[in-house]
């Protein structure tokens, strides 16, 4: 399996070992690989198959699901829909979370849409009521900052790669050919020198 087609500085390239992998593949081995891959696909399919039998992303009800987009302000750091209030006498939704869920149920009962319900909570309790800041105004910064960082980083990486590719190489000094024995000695010497790592 030759991975390298070209290398300007073979002494620095360590991919030669890959060439040693080049062994003629027997039909039996090919069948073995196919069988193995097929078995792997089946194993993965079976491992995730139980997921299909279940309806995806089911909360207990709409309020519970919507409650996961609202923060519980009891100090648990969790959402109202999943507050378990650790350390308290009751490890379930605390009074704050219950009040939020109850209010949500009432609004659902009045036929309000999800976005209208969330908006009503924002008006009542401020933006801190939402588990994720709404993507508008200054909050855009939070959403776009990683993307901007990625874009800048990508531009830098591309620039660096271009610079490195066009950098003139140091010409190899002419001299006597290096024998395999010399290389082996050099390798052993390097190993001895780094033995105390």
């Amino acid at each position: 399996m030759a991975m390298i087609d070209h290398c300007a500085n073979p002494l620095q390239c360590h991919s030669e070992a890959r060439d040693t992998h080049s062994v003629v593949r027997s039909p039996l081995a090919r069948r073995g690989i196919c069988f193995f891959l097929f078995a792997l696909i089946l194993a993965v399919a079976f491992s995730v198959a139980p997921l299909f039998a279940q309806a995806p992303v089911q909360g207990t009800d709409r309020a519970q699901k919507l409650g996961k987009e609202l923060m519980c302000t009891c100090g648990c750091g969790d959402t109202a829909g999943s507050c378990s209030h650790p350390g308290a006498a009751f490890s379930g939704p605390c009074e704050v979370a219950k009040a939020r869920l109850k209010e949500m149920n009432e609004r659902i009962g009045r036929g309000e849409s999800d976005s209208a319900i969330l908006q009503a909570f924002v008006q009542e309790y401020g933006e801190a009521a939402l588990a994720a800041p709404p993507a508008r105004g200054f909050n855009w910064f939070a959403y776009t900052f990683p993307a901007v960082a990625f874009a800048i980083g990508l531009a830098l990486v591309i620039m660096i790669i271009r610079q490195w590719r066009h950098r003139p190489r140091v010409a190899t000094a002419a001299g006597p050919a290096v024998s395999a024995e010399m290389l082996e000695n050099a390798r052993r010497q390097i190993e001895r020198e780094v033995q105390d790592d």
Partner: protein, 686 residues
């Protein structure tokens, strides 16, 4: 013993001052005796810290309730191993514990390299002792755990007080995992001081070559491994104790531990570029600096109260000290770099865009973007309040939205990177190496979708998981096949030999496979279900394929707590499969409660049952059941990662078989090998 502990820490501080000042003087004067003296002082600092830590442990074990810290975090009925864990339950003790773990690293490094690398080690010693001094300053003057209880007598004199019992340990910490999770995580945090010290020392001392990387490589892997395992143990603790059915909620404390792990991972990859090609010297030094600074920054975040966190037990006004230290460390790094930047100059050249080198660049980019995303999300509430005066919440939905695509791209690179060759990879090689795995991955995704799997991220994760797994397996298979055919052995023996010949490379693949398992486990979150209902004895509830019957209910009084326990019979398809005993505990000493979750865990899913207590409205027992698919894969992935990390730290075994073949031709097939076979070297780092 409190005086002994205080005195030991004070002496450690003074000794540290000498080791630091003496170390600098030794570097300037180059006097061998001074070098030795500073090193010995550095080791003495460590021994004194151990004595201080030991005395605090003794005070906890002997219920010395004249000590404010012991009163605050322990009580007489607390079991002995939790009394040990109580040492790091609060701010002061956890800072001393940090010092203690750091001192183990400092001692190990100073002792292991005593008399070696005279041009480098004095610098390393100064940097490590400098960091240690900062924590000793906190231990002695800012947050000492040896404060005693006292009150003012009518005469105006201070008098000591000995309390009859303590307040007890936070129930959330009274769990066996809490005895090992903080030590392991802290070992990660503190361990990153070692590569930082070596990098800064090499820069300051203009130490030639890449030797500092060879010297610090295993230390970096130890720190990185501890950090990763610590994060996973923390996740498991949250899962098994907090009773909310999840394991990761993007809390600032969790994020603080993830940030240095991400940059540390980037360093472990990019450092190979420097070792192999002498490239990216500046980048690597800065990655180590950033990783160390993030460990301190994370500690600042979790202890200063700057951001809201559920880990409120360790918040205080200690923040300015950490900020000052971070500022000083940044200044030292900047000045050191600026003065010695010519030392880091390297002739970076690249043959092709499609190469191992560029894959490392992209890998670093994605890991750093992930780190930036976590930092920006964690700090955004503070920034928003500062800029707009409005407090906002940044919770799980935000972090998931931002980080899922980044994580999946990283998973993709996990499969692609290792199979690209150094220098250049041709399109033919790309097709050969990636075509099959990618095709099979897509086929698996299509099959899954045909079976009903939905969700872009879940399907993508499945495709990438299959793709990465296959590329890893093929890498093992191809190498092992060559060895097996040469040695006339079977493929498993070939895999073992291959791995031991280049432990770093193949250990790395094992770590990658562990990451794949973790991703599969996380993808199961998309299918979580939960149900809460009042369940008096005899009543039943159903979740997924399971039927839960509340059989009995009992309560017991144990020395340290009172317990209410439900006995739940779990049926599946009409057949009873297990009895679960979710429990609720009440700790009278601090008037707090804790849950003991009962989990029936299989590779397919976890049935996670919480006894929430009695409903405040109806006084009926309430059971909260969760069905969490594939969670076990996460813990399994963690175990595989540990195995891979340990493998990667082992020294390479020499290719004995090939050498023996060269010396004495195989008896089995003399005709086929008339001349000595060429020696194949798989050594080296990849």
């Amino acid at each position: 013993m409190d005086l002994f502990g205080s005195f030991a820490l004070l002496l450690a501080f003074l000794c540290g001052l000498y080791a630091f000042g003496g170390g600098i003087a030794a570097i300037v004067t180059r006097r061998p005796l001074l070098i030795k003296s500073a090193r010995n002082a550095g080791m003495a600092v460590c021994v004194l810290i151990w004595l201080g830590f030991g005395s605090l442990a003794y005070l906890f074990q002997t219920d010395n309730f004249s000590m404010a810290y012991v009163v605050e975090h322990s009580n007489r009925t607390l079991p002995a191993f939790f009394k040990f864990a109580a040492i790091w339950a609060g701010q002061q003790g956890s800072l001393l514990f940090w010092s203690f773990l750091l001192s183990i690293y400092v001692f190990s490094v100073l002792f292991a390299y005593r008399g070696k690398h005279p041009e480098l080690m004095p610098y390393v010693g100064v940097v490590m002792v400098g960091v240690q001094l900062f924590f000793l300053t906190l231990n002695n003057f800012i947050a000492s755990p040896f404060g005693i209880l006292g009150s003012t007598a009518p005469s105006g004199a201070m008098q000591w007080i000995m309390r009859g019992d303590g307040n007890g340990l936070n129930p959330l910490l009274q769990y066996p995992e809490m005895v090992i999770h903080p030590p392991i995580l802290y070992s990660g945090y503190t361990g990153f001081t070692v590569p930082f010290a070596f990098a800064l020392a090499a820069l300051l001392g203009r130490y030639p070559g890449e030797k500092w990387i060879h010297l610090s490589r295993r230390w970096t892997m130890i720190a990185w491994g501890f950090q990763g395992v610590g994060i996973l143990l923390g996740a498991h603790w949250a899962y098994a104790v907090l009773g909310w059915g999840g394991y990761w909620m993007w809390d600032p404390v969790e994020n603080a531990s993830l940030m240095p792990w991400l940059t540390g991972t980037a360093f472990l990859h990019s450092v190979m570029m420097q070792e192999k090609r002498g490239m990216m010297r500046v980048w690597n030094v800065w990655l180590v600096f950033i990783t160390f600074l993030l460990t301190i920054f994370g500690t600042f975040l979790t202890r200063s109260g700057v951001v809201n966190s559920v880990h409120a037990f360790a918040q205080s006004s200690i923040g300015p000290w950490f900020l000052s230290f971070i500022g000083l460390a940044v200044l030292v790094c900047l000045v050191s770099y600026w003065r010695n930047r010519d030392y880091l100059r390297s002739d970076n050249t690249l043959d092709s865009l499609v190469s191992r080198e560029s894959s490392f660049l992209f890998n670093n980019l994605i890991l750093l973007v992930a780190c930036v995303a976590v930092i920006s999300g964690t700090l955004f509430p503070v920034l928003s309040e500062w800029v707009r005066g409005t407090k906002i919440s940044v919770g799980v939905p935000f972090f998931n939205t931002i980080n899922l695509p980044i994580a999946l791209f990283l998973l993709f690179l996990t499969g692609v990177g290792p199979l690209l060759a150094w220098c250049k990879t041709s399109m033919a090689s790309l097709r050969k190496n990636f075509g099959g795995p990618l095709l099979i991955g897509i086929v698996a995704g299509v099959i899954a979708m045909a079976l009903g799997l939905r969700g872009f991220y879940v399907v993508t994760c499945l495709i990438l998981s299959v793709f990465v797994t296959l590329t890893i397996l093929l890498e093992f298979y191809r190498g092992a096949r060559v060895i097996a055919s040469r040695a006339n052995s079977n493929i498993f023996s070939g895999v073992a030999q291959l791995t031991m010949r280049n432990t770093r490379r193949y250990g790395g693949y094992v770590v990658h496979f562990g990451i794949v398992l973790i991703f599969i486990g996380i993808s199961g979150t998309a299918f979580n279900q939960d149900k809460q209902s009042e369940l008096p004895p005899g009543a039943q509830m159903t979740i997924g394929p399971y039927r839960l019957t509340h059989q009995t209910f009992d309560s017991t009084d144990v020395a340290n707590y009172k317990s209410e326990r439900a006995t739940i019979a779990v049926d599946r398809n009409g057949k009873q499969i297990i009895m679960l005993y979710p429990e609720k505990r009440f700790y009278p000493s601090n008037q707090e409660s804790g849950t003991m979750v009962a989990i029936y865990s299989t590779l397919k899913e976890d049935l996670y049952v919480v006894y929430a207590g009695h409903s405040p409205e109806t006084n009926q027992p309430v059971i909260h059941a969760y069905l969490n698919p594939l969670v076990k894969w996460i813990w399994l992935g963690g175990a595989v990662m540990v195995l891979g990390t340990l493998l990667a730290m082992l020294p390479n075994r020499q290719p004995m078989l090939a050498l023996r073949t060269a010396a004495e031709p195989s008896r089995a097939a003399p005709a086929l090998s008339p001349s000595p076979a060429p020696v194949q070297h798989y050594d080296g780092h990849d």
